[in-house]
């Protein structure tokens, strides 16, 4: 239930934004999750529904997953992160700390571990909409 900790972060950050913008009721919150994080959207949405405060009573949470694209800093090769060839323990380690991918994933072209996560990492609060 790592997702629970992330859901708490979303509610806290969205509450700060709502407070700042004077939103009495939040109606829509959109969240983008990097694929590397391997967050279970259903668990995240369930945790959000359990954690929401009065201000979020009418809020709809939309979770969108962003594909993880990696780029090798040595040969420039770009590829898409795939769970194939990674065992369960490795995937779990990457789930908890996505940067750990640098210990397990290598460039498929030149085997370098020095790659950039161009997209598909982290958790982002995209929009917080509501009524004043």
């Amino acid at each position: 239930m790592h997702e629970w900790a992330l859901a708490e972060a979303v509610i806290t950050a969205a509450s700060e934004i709502a407070e700042r913008e004077g939103l009495k009721q939040v109606t829509r919150v959109t969240i983008r999750v990097g694929e590397l994080q391997q967050v279970e959207s259903a668990i995240l949405e369930f945790a959000l529904s359990q954690l929401k405060t009065a201000r979020f009573k009418r809020a709809k949470f939309e979770v969108e997953t962003e594909k993880a694209r990696l780029r090798c800093r040595v040969c420039g090769h770009t590829w898409v992160f795939s769970k194939r060839n990674l065992d369960q323990a490795t995937l779990e380690a990457i789930h908890f700390v996505p940067e750990i991918a640098h210990a397990y994933v290598k460039c498929p072209n030149c085997a370098s571990p020095d790659f950039e996560i161009e997209q598909g990492r982290g958790l982002w609060l995209q929009t917080v909409r509501g009524v004043k």
Partner: protein, 259 residues
């Protein structure tokens, strides 16, 4: 777009009374050994203590503590296991013995991830084993951990102390409380580091002689606590306990984190 993880960090750390970052200007001065021994000694005094290895690319406290099969529990986040009386957190639970090359942005992201998901609960002290210098981990630790205090470790080398000056300049610019300086691996009775520390207006907290017994105690905390290094660190503990009121006040007045 904002990173919501940052908003929950204060909540995760709110039940921790003091957070002490064991830092240095350069590597190889004994930070990890002092951080581990400090955490173990505080725990022996009866305090509830956590130890968090923030040296993500070159972690070593797991080797000092002799970590084997312990793993964090997953419970609405990550709950660090209790190891030798400490709540202990390290990236090595996930990276094991593999090399984990991380650039600055990766270090920052890993730090935010672990700070936002680790549930320390109530602690009197959280000791941070910092990577050396004034790079991303130091800047981010200062940025994200509101009540952080620094303990600076150096060797008798003037080269090590040169880098301490830069670290102190940065910490002062960021208005972070510095508890003082510890001189480690002393081989003679030179007072140079003590005098240089005082010139900087900082407390010279302890001098620790080079202790050849330490190497054999790596991986065995009970043995580590019987070394001369541990005796000196115990004295250091008492001095840290005394400094509590003044440094915390300075820190609270001086800094307010802005996300």
């Amino acid at each position: 777009m904002i990173d919501p993880r940052i908003s929950i960090i204060d909540e995760r750390l709110k039940e921790i009374d003091r957070i002490i970052a064991v830092s240095s200007g350069k590597g190889g001065v004994g930070k990890s050994l002092i951080a581990s021994t400090l955490a173990l000694s505080l725990a022996k005094k009866g305090y509830s203590v956590g130890l968090f290895d923030l040296d993500f690319t070159s972690p070593s406290t797991h080797a000092i503590l002799g970590i084997r099969d312990e793993r964090p529990k997953e419970e609405k986040g990550i709950v660090p296991p209790r190891v030798h009386g400490l709540k202990y957190m390290s990236i090595t639970y996930y990276s094991h013995d593999l090399a984990t090359p991380l650039r600055g942005a990766d270090v920052s992201n890993a730090l935010v991830e672990l700070l936002s998901t680790t549930r320390w609960g109530k602690l009197s002290y959280l000791v941070l084993d910092m990577p050396p210098g004034i790079g991303d981990a130091t800047l981010d630790a200062v940025r994200f951990i509101k009540n952080i205090e620094f303990l600076i470790v150096t060797t008798p080398s003037r080269l090590a102390f040169e880098t301490v000056k830069k670290l102190v300049t940065l910490l002062r610019a960021l208005r972070v409380p510095v508890l003082g300086v510890v001189e480690n691996m002393k081989m003679n009775d030179s007072k140079t580091i003590q005098q240089e520390t005082q010139k900087l207006g900082l407390k010279f907290l302890e001098e620790i002689p080079y202790d050849s017994m330490v190497e054999a105690a790596i991986g065995d905390p009970d043995k580590l606590l019987q070394t001369t290094l541990a005796d000196k660190v115990k004295r250091l503990c008492s001095k840290i306990l005394e400094t509590q009121a003044s440094t915390r006040l300075a820190g609270e007045q001086g800094r307010k984190r802005k996300v």
